[in-house]
Symmetry: C2
Subunit: 431 residues, 2 copies
């Protein structure tokens, strides 16, 4: 039985207990939300990890870090280091998106080493191996696809991105749209290439029941990919994107009927004033299934700093319903991220998620900020350091200059906190 099936029977699983404890929420609420499909716990029955997490309604917004090799760059050791960095800086889940080198070996090592749930995009392995076997990647068969999914599920992958919403109808819509950046989803491009080459429907859509069977067997959570996501501000919220979202809404309901946990992926590049509408549309069309967004990036010109364009979009998405933020690193659009990029990406997304949680959680998340502010007022640097989102970074910045007094080197002798305490007669606040 899957988490959703247990929950429908009202059974409080070990996973629910864990999530309830971490989130300081009632077990029965989480159980109810899993049964309703508004919360998922990506936890492959064959891959027990310490850092289980729930994603969705009423829960803290989660952050995913993407790692993995490309055909140009990346080694097993390098990717395992990125896994470490991701978890150390607070990623809730990690996706292995390897497309180069020994894909299997990298995935197996990551699965073995990770203390958090692992996601993958199995179409990568299926089509890249087909390319190695037959020549062009589009020579992969439908069986190749499902075999890769089953192999990865058997090995313990907790959630898989599957671009089931790319249909021939969506491609027609794409052709008539005349986008600037047609397709920016790699998995989406693989499948569209296959569909156009063979002039056939997407196997992941046509044989969706076969996918559901595999997902059910291992309790792998499906993450319905958005192959049609806009890759530029100019293409935001257009017909192909929404055409695909309509299909994803149907597929969410079919997953629930089959006892399979499911979430939905979303854009991408969106101007600030499209974000609220996109979140509300997904929640409405997909009956409040958890929403996993890639950014959204609020401008196209931030290359080199796209962790910032993504954090701006992610924070706003979070207020209006995004439950799960896929990080964006400073290397996005330019190169494979290195470990430093991974750290910056994770922290930026965590800031976005927390800023939205302050609003969503009705005061619960802001307790962290309150304690930090008290330490700030009290010029208690040790507590500020411990409470900061990245204590190591705070130590590094603080150590740059010699500080003469109680304050920091920005205000030195003229610290507002210090001055006001002196003249207003307000002494250190107590927690």
């Amino acid at each position: 039985m899957t988490q959703i099936e247990f929950a429908k029977k009202g059974a409080i699983t070990a996973q629910i207990k864990h999530v309830a404890q971490v989130e300081q929420l009632d077990e029965s609420i989480i159980c109810k939300n899993i049964a309703a499909g508004t919360v998922v716990i990506p936890a492959n029955a064959g891959h027990p990890v310490e850092g289980i997490c729930g994603i969705g309604k009423n829960l803290r917004i989660k952050v995913n870090s993407n790692i993995g090799t490309s055909s140009d760059v990346g080694t097993l050791e390098g990717e395992l280091e990125k896994l470490d960095v991701s978890i150390r800086y607070g990623a809730d889940t990690v996706m292995d998106l390897s497309t180069g080198g020994d894909i299997r070996k990298v995935r197996r090592s990551i699965l073995k080493k990770s203390s958090v749930p692992i996601g993958t995009v199995p179409v990568y392995q299926a089509m890249i191996e087909a390319g190695e076997k037959y020549g062009p990647i589009v020579m992969a068969t439908a069986d190749d696809l499902f075999n890769a999914i089953e192999e990865q599920a058997r090995e313990g992958v907790d959630f898989v991105t599957v671009h089931c919403g790319i249909t021939q109808a969506a491609i027609s819509s794409l052709k008539s749209q005349h986008r600037i950046t047609d397709i920016v989803s790699r998995g989406g491009a693989f499948l569209i290439g296959w569909m156009l080459h063979h002039d056939k429907e997407n196997p992941l859509y046509e044989h969706y029941d076969r996918l559901l069977e595999i997902a059910h067997k291992y309790d792998v959570t499906l993450s319905l990919g958005d192959g049609m996501r806009p890759g530029s501000i100019a293409d935001a919220t257009d017909r192909p994107q929404i055409q695909e979202l309509l299909t994803l809404g149907e597929l969410v309901e079919r997953a629930w009927s089959a006892g399979v946990q499911v979430m939905v992926e979303g854009p991408g590049h969106l101007p600030l004033d499209h974000i609220m509408m996109n979140m509300q549309l997904q929640k409405s069309l997909c009956r409040e299934a958890p929403f996993y967004v890639l950014g959204p990036l609020v401008s196209d010109v931030g290359a080199g700093y796209d962790h910032i364009t993504g954090a701006i979009g992610g924070a706003i998405a979070g207020i209006y319903g995004a439950d799960f933020l896929c990080y964006v690193t400073p290397a996005e659009h330019l190169s494979l991220p290195d470990s430093e990029d991974v750290r910056n990406g994770v922290i930026a997304s965590r800031i976005a998620a927390h800023a939205a949680d302050i609003v969503r959680s009705q005061g619960k998340a802001a307790e962290w900020d309150r304690r930090m502010s008290l330490a700030r007022k009290n010029l208690d640097w040790e507590t500020q350091t411990t409470l900061a989102i990245d204590p190591e970074r705070v130590r590094k910045v603080r150590s740059k200059y010699t500080v003469k007094g109680r304050a920091c080197s920005m205000c030195g002798d003229y610290c507002a906190m210090d001055l006001v305490e002196k003249y207003l007669g307000i002494t250190a606040n107590k927690c």
Copy 2:
């Protein structure tokens, strides 16, 4: 005559011509807005600079960089380097907030070297010099304050932050509020210390006409400081903050009557769901005077990464009415920024400003993104680099790994753009 007086007579000044050309707007619209007080051009009559800019209604959101020494750190050379970095990376204005070393010499050098408008907070010099002369800084006289303002205006400062809204009424409000972080404004703390020590009204409020006279004489733009700004999420939008804002609204109208250009400063630390309301409130209470915001920071725990918490807040503030973003650097709350922090702060604020401009400018600002996206679709790396917000950074990231094909090292052989072009038969887009 000041810009606002010329504008009231319908005279198109050289400054208006320049701003109209840069913003691609009709001169008469800018003239009308300056006359109405909804746009300012901070341009001291005695300090001609190449990079004049307008701030306010219908204009591109501007970004300010804060530099300057502290009593702990900072040299003339170092601050001049930060001036260079600020301008090179796109700051529209720079404020010299020096409080250490030879404050006069640093300011004069910055004024001489800068190609953009310069702002200051004259109360720093007034009170620090008083401290050196009399012992405690609060021994400064009202004359000391006005003399410092006049000296700096005479030397060519284009805009000054003056905390005129800190009244005894606002201090009473502060005392009854029991904030966590009472006062985080350095200038605010100076004045509150003075007011409490002498048990007198704020000279900048009591003798506001004297201030207006100086501002009028040199056409210095007043930036009405928010000494009561919230310094933590917990203190956001409370009584002292709004009490001060009410006073600032009155002072805006008195400045206009005196033919003095004026803008209003705003928070500070605000949770995401307070930002829209704060922007609307300022616009309403201050009759659409340009709004200059410090952040806003959407969480307190981002120390080390506060350029990101500030960019999230700044972008949203921009959509709802902020006209001018004061940058926040990664060193905020921890130390004086170094040149690298300055670069990161300027770029993060520019991203926030541009993301909001995409929404505010009805398509005009998004033309930059459209061209970038075309280059991205065409895998035209040279154009992408040139169009990126920081071309140097893009080159650095791109050079990290060897790229084998046309794509970047993230997707290598499996670039979505490449694949789709091949299978969808869509060839390179034309601009």
